[in-house]
């Protein structure tokens, strides 16, 4: 009997544990290099390791593709996840929901902060056009959006948010080299707290390497990872702000 909660990677047979790995080692792609790649994979705990590609990248570097089989299984019952519960609504529904439960527009101020110069994620969520056929927050009747763009100092973002009496402070962080995004996210939240304004705003963050769990850990109200559409963010914000206004529970 297989335990349906105990799972392993599935290659071509249930529970065969098949995993495909690719990595670079600072060695030549010769017999020694291949053996090093194989040993590495075995030491990772894989039971079988088959080096299917060893390619010289120039200099003393080689690229390997290795297949391994893992004996490790995961029991789904032992796992707890921190997930953002969103009761999803379409744009029209969200607008109607805000109309009904708040009776005014929700004010959102967005930016990519500090050194981050990339607005692609921010614009995907905020701009009229949106992303992947899903309209951005500017398109909604009941969001009043200020998109401050890139490289906005935390000070400026906070000042603007207070000035326009924002309900939501939304940031996007794309660059994650040396965990710069974490330092910057912490800086923002600490400055908002120092201003005594933490309770004034719903503070949310998004980006390719941001998860809800990470955002919560850093003191944010929510985090949005890859694949997030504007309507996801809109649904969450609408319900949360309405709930906070005391007129409607989540």
């Amino acid at each position: 009997m297989t335990n349906p909660f105990l799972i392993r990677p599935y290659g071509d047979t249930l529970n065969d544990g098949a995993v495909q790995l690719s990595f670079t080692l600072p060695v030549k792609a010769d017999a020694l290099g291949k053996e090093a790649a194989k040993e590495l994979v075995l030491k990772m705990g894989f039971e079988k390791a088959e080096v299917v590609l060893a390619e010289n990248l120039g200099g003393e570097f080689s690229f390997f593709i290795v297949y391994g089989k893992t004996p490790i299984a995961i029991n789904l019952r032992d796992i707890k996840v921190v997930d953002l519960p969103i009761e999803y609504m379409h744009r029209e529904e969200t607008d109607a929901y805000i109309e009904k439960h708040l009776g005014r527009s929700i004010v959102v101020v967005g930016a990519t902060i500090e050194s981050d110069a990339h607005t692609v994620g921010l614009d995907a969520i905020l701009n009229m056009k949106g992303f992947h056929g899903d309209y951005g927050l500017e398109r909604y009747h009941h969001f009043s959006v200020t998109n401050m763009g890139s490289q906005v100092p935390c000070e400026d973002l906070i000042r603007k948010s207070i000035e326009v009496n924002a309900d939501v402070v939304l940031i996007s962080q794309i660059v994650t080299q040396k965990n710069i995004h974490i330092q910057q996210m912490v800086r923002l939240i600490e400055m908002i707290e120092a201003e005594g304004a933490r309770d004034r705003f719903l503070v949310v963050a998004g980006g390719p390497r941001i998860s809800h769990a990470l955002a919560l850990e850093l003191g944010y109200d929510a985090g949005f990872g890859p694949g997030t559409l504007p309507s996801h963010v809109a649904s969450f914000i609408a319900r949360e702000i309405c709930a906070r206004s005391g007129k409607e529970g989540l």
Binding site: L57, G58, S115, V120, G149, Q151, R209
Partner: protein, 521 residues
């Protein structure tokens, strides 16, 4: 391959010229902090003081505070050097120690002019000798086939960057761009020295340029083909970085007439003035500029706003021509950014790529890979990059910034660059002669689409010509981003030139590039 409506082509090109004329008049009557620092650098001022402030900044900030920059920093430096009997570098050190250049007695104008003539000639001789050296090496080592395979290194340590760059060259890279440290574009100075711990990249500094140039020349000799080096002359220091590139043998510089305004919120007056001098330097040094039209498509939709790319290319071309640049040094930007789920998206991409190619037949377009619709699915991303490469070889593009399968996840791993090059090597090789063998259907969908985009670009240019470029930017006509003419960063660094304004570097370079009197029209 397609027939563009000749009338549309003529009209758009004329309108672009009309649009830049008032800007050129404005540019001629103003200077900036960065232009003045460039003059100081061409006179040999370099290094930094004990606080880490670059000496060009020490010197120019002093003159700025004294409100005398309208006469040109060259004048004050020359006057100080003659009176104090020292070199410009020693003078900068004296200024750091408290010397007031405005308190030094003023020399007669002819003596100052004579003194500066020598420096201007030396600066230009060095630009020309570096240029000749590059051209000779290009000739000796051989110019790679087109499209050039362009990859990026971004470790934050220039020495590690050289290792990755060398590895990329052995895999087939023809062009190496060294990514700048995040937010350098907003610095009102160019950092001094080598970077070993940068965020998101290394600084564009003269020393970093030198280190990478040496490494790529070694790689090029080993590989038997010329390897081009790229950096970024955008932001608040466009002319200074162009100056450094002109002395250190860079081949390409990212340099756009409007990018900083729209995407970095740099003041429009500042950018428009700075881009002119920086482009003249590039034009003289034979540095190919790469413009940033791809950015329009990450902000807006690639189909709806395709015309914004075309309009911006036309404006960039007009500005570059006004700076005396030959068309072969214009790497006008465009990008492969259409939603992969759209049916016939590839036909749109071909139409847009052909439009760029044929509207600027003598330019060397810079084609940017998919980024907006890249996801964690690296395998799908790899196919999207293959389609991008196919579009390039099929439409005869020149500079191909290779897409990374892990775009949107992290800065490229060594293996990502290898996979990207494997992709390009395969597609470019296997389809090398395809464009010679096929025809795009005359009057067909692709041709119609290209003309449609051109017609839309014409509308935007007509409006821009009517209200003026600055007003059009204020209205948010480009990239849906509105920037006020007196907003943004760097406006305080815009200075009105006095009648006596003196900048022999600017004047000499301008006179070499433009027929006499052309710039006074």
């Amino acid at each position: 391959m397609i027939q563009l409506d000749d009338q549309l082509v003529q009209k758009t090109k004329q309108l672009a010229q009309t649009i830049i004329q008032p800007i050129q008049r404005f540019v001629q009557t103003h200077t900036t902090l960065s232009i003045e620092r460039t003059a100081a650098r061409y006179m040999g001022v370099d290094g930094e003081d004990s606080d880490g402030t670059p000496f060009p900044n020490v010197m120019i900030d002093h003159l700025y505070q004294k409100k005398v920059l309208g006469h040109g920093a060259s004048f004050w430096i020359a006057n100080g050097c003659i009176q104090k009997r020292c070199e410009p570098q020693q003078l900068a050190i004296a200024v750091a120690d408290g010397l007031d250049l405005t308190s030094v007695p003023i020399m007669p104008k002819n003596e100052i002019d004579d003194y500066l003539e020598g420096f201007a000639q030396m600066a230009i001789d060095r630009i020309l000798s570096i240029r000749d050296e590059r051209n000779q090496m290009l000739h000796d080592l051989g110019d790679p086939l087109r499209p050039l395979r362009y990859v990026i290194v971004a470790t934050g340590n220039i020495h590690e960057d050289t290792q990755q760059a060398k590895a990329a060259v052995t895999q087939g890279a023809d062009v190496i761009a060294v990514i700048r440290s995040t937010a350098q574009s907003l610095l009102e100075y160019v950092p001094y020295g080598a970077t070993t711990e940068g965020f998101g990249g290394t600084y564009a500094s003269q020393e970093n340029f030198r280190i990478m140039r040496r490494a790529l020349d070694e790689s090029g000799k080993e590989a038997g083909r010329y390897i081009r080096l790229v950096n970024y002359a955008s932001g608040l220091c466009m002319p200074e970085i162009a100056m450094m590139a002109s002395w250190e043998g860079l081949d390409f510089l990212l340099n756009d007439s409007m990018y900083g305004i729209l995407f970095r919120d740099i003041n429009m007056k500042r950018t428009l003035i700075d881009q002119y001098f920086s482009r003249m330097i590039c034009a003289l040094a034979h540095i190919t500029i790469n413009t940033g039209e791809d950015n329009y498509l990450t902000t807006s939709d690639a189909i709806e706003k395709a015309y914004a790319v075309t309009a911006s290319q036309l404006i960039n071309e007009a500005f570059a021509k006004a700076a005396g640049m030959e068309e072969r040094f214009m790497g006008l930007g465009h990008a492969f950014e259409i939603d992969p789920d759209i049916e016939n998206g590839f036909l749109y991409e071909l139409a847009h790529a052909l439009l760029t190619r044929q509207l600027f037949p003598y330019a060397t377009p810079k084609y940017m890979p998919p980024t907006k619709y890249m996801t964690g699915n690296i395998f799908k991303g790899f196919i999207m990059n293959a389609m991008f490469n196919l579009a390039a070889i099929l439409t005869g593009q020149d500079i191909q910034l290779l897409g990374m399968p892990t775009e949107a996840i992290h800065t490229p791993y060594l293996q990502d660059r290898y996979l990207a090059l494997t992709n390009a090597n395969y597609i470019f090789g296997t389809a090398r002669g395809l464009k010679e063998e096929i025809q795009i259907k005359s009057g067909g969908w692709i041709e119609q689409r290209a003309n449609e985009v051109l017609a839309q670009a014409l509308n935007l240019l007509e409006h821009t010509a009517e209200v003026g470029l600055m007003k059009a930017i204020e209205e948010g006509q480009f990239a849906d981003i509105s920037r006020p003419r007196d907003g943004g960063k760097g406006l305080e660094g815009v200075i009105i030139k006095e009648d006596s304004y003196c900048n022999p570097f600017f004047d000499k370079i301008e006179s070499m590039l433009l027929p006499a009197g052309a710039h006074h029209d």
